[in-house]
């Protein structure tokens, strides 16, 4: 499935992700990592700890609705894989990020921006693993 190359939208979206990451650090002193925020939301250390995570997550989920308000349409979510692949992939993502203590946002953006050796190693590792997985699925197995 072909997708359109969107350098400006992607750069602008990336800049907004960066602004949100900087603001969360500046206001709450926290890393903008989806894994860490969600995991802490599921088992918070205190009521206060749960509340800030709930507020950030509520804002995240409102993102597509705000985009619809501005542009008149929901952002595209095109899924070129089967429901079984979604479930298998999601289970692996959940287990993996628990052990790696972070994902694309926590390690790939916030940790890399701090030049953390752990985050650089994690990001290089998962980018390589994803590349190999996509190659095998699309060009070896042909799913």
């Amino acid at each position: 499935m072909e997708t359109v190359f969107t350098p400006w939208q992607s750069l602008g979206g990336g800049a907004l992700i960066g602004i949100a990451s900087v603001m969360l650090m500046g206001f709450a002193g926290r890393i903008m990592g989806a894994t860490g925020i969600l995991a802490g939301f599921m088992q918070p250390a205190s009521k206060e700890d749960w509340a800030w995570r709930a507020a950030v997550l509520a804002g995240m989920v409102s993102g597509p609705l705000a985009v619809m308000l501005f542009t008149g349409q929901m952002p595209a979510v095109e899924v070129p894989v089967t429901p079984v692949m979604i479930v298998v992939g999601a289970l692996l993502v959940g287990v993996g990020v628990t052990f790696s203590s972070g994902c694309t946002s926590g390690h790939g953006v916030c940790g890399m921006a701090r030049l953390s050796p752990r985050s650089i190693a994690a990001t290089a590792t998962f980018m390589l693993a994803t590349t190999v997985t996509v190659f095998v699925l699309r060009h070896v197995i042909g799913a």
Partner: protein, 145 residues
């Protein structure tokens, strides 16, 4: 007031994810498909986010502390270990199979699409399973991430 600001920060992140293409598995998987229908867009997402965060953190972390106090919560570990690398491999494989990462999927919940709900539900099961495997309370995870 504090929670309004936090909501707005989440909203900026959610809008960024939405317009960047990170919430769209077709674009995500194509970014990694160098041998097929390659779409380099996600390099621009990472690039834009990294440049802003790199310089923004430099400024913010010089301040005595966050506006809402009390201090910055930053991971301090610098060593590499098997859990970090192994977990990253498993995460990468899952990302390649499904096309969603946590930061892409959580904002995408707002579209109400069944595939996103299915992904997030299964991912939460995966996180619980991962914690059970690790035999650690969740507090450890968030303090490390």
């Amino acid at each position: 007031m504090k929670f309004v600001v936090l909501y707005l920060i989440g909203l900026v992140f959610g809008i960024g994810i939405s317009i960047s293409g990170m919430a769209n598995p077709a674009k995500v998987i194509n970014f990694f498909d160098f041998a097929g229908t390659w779409d380099p867009s996600l390099a621009f997402v990472m690039g834009g986010a990294l440049v802003v965060t790199f310089f923004g953190y430099k400024y913010v972390l010089k301040r005595p502390g966050p506006v809402f106090g009390p201090g910055f919560v930053l991971p301090t570990r610098r060593d590499l270990d098997g859990q970090l690398i192994g977990g990253s491999v498993v995460f990468g494989i899952g990302w390649g199979i499904a096309g969603f990462c946590p930061g892409g999927a959580l904002p995408a919940l707002g579209t109400g699409q069944g595939s996103v709900i299915l992904f997030v539900g299964a991912m939460v099961v995966g996180i619980i399973a991962g914690l059970w495997l690790k035999n650690l309370p969740l507090r450890r995870l968030q303090s490390n991430s």
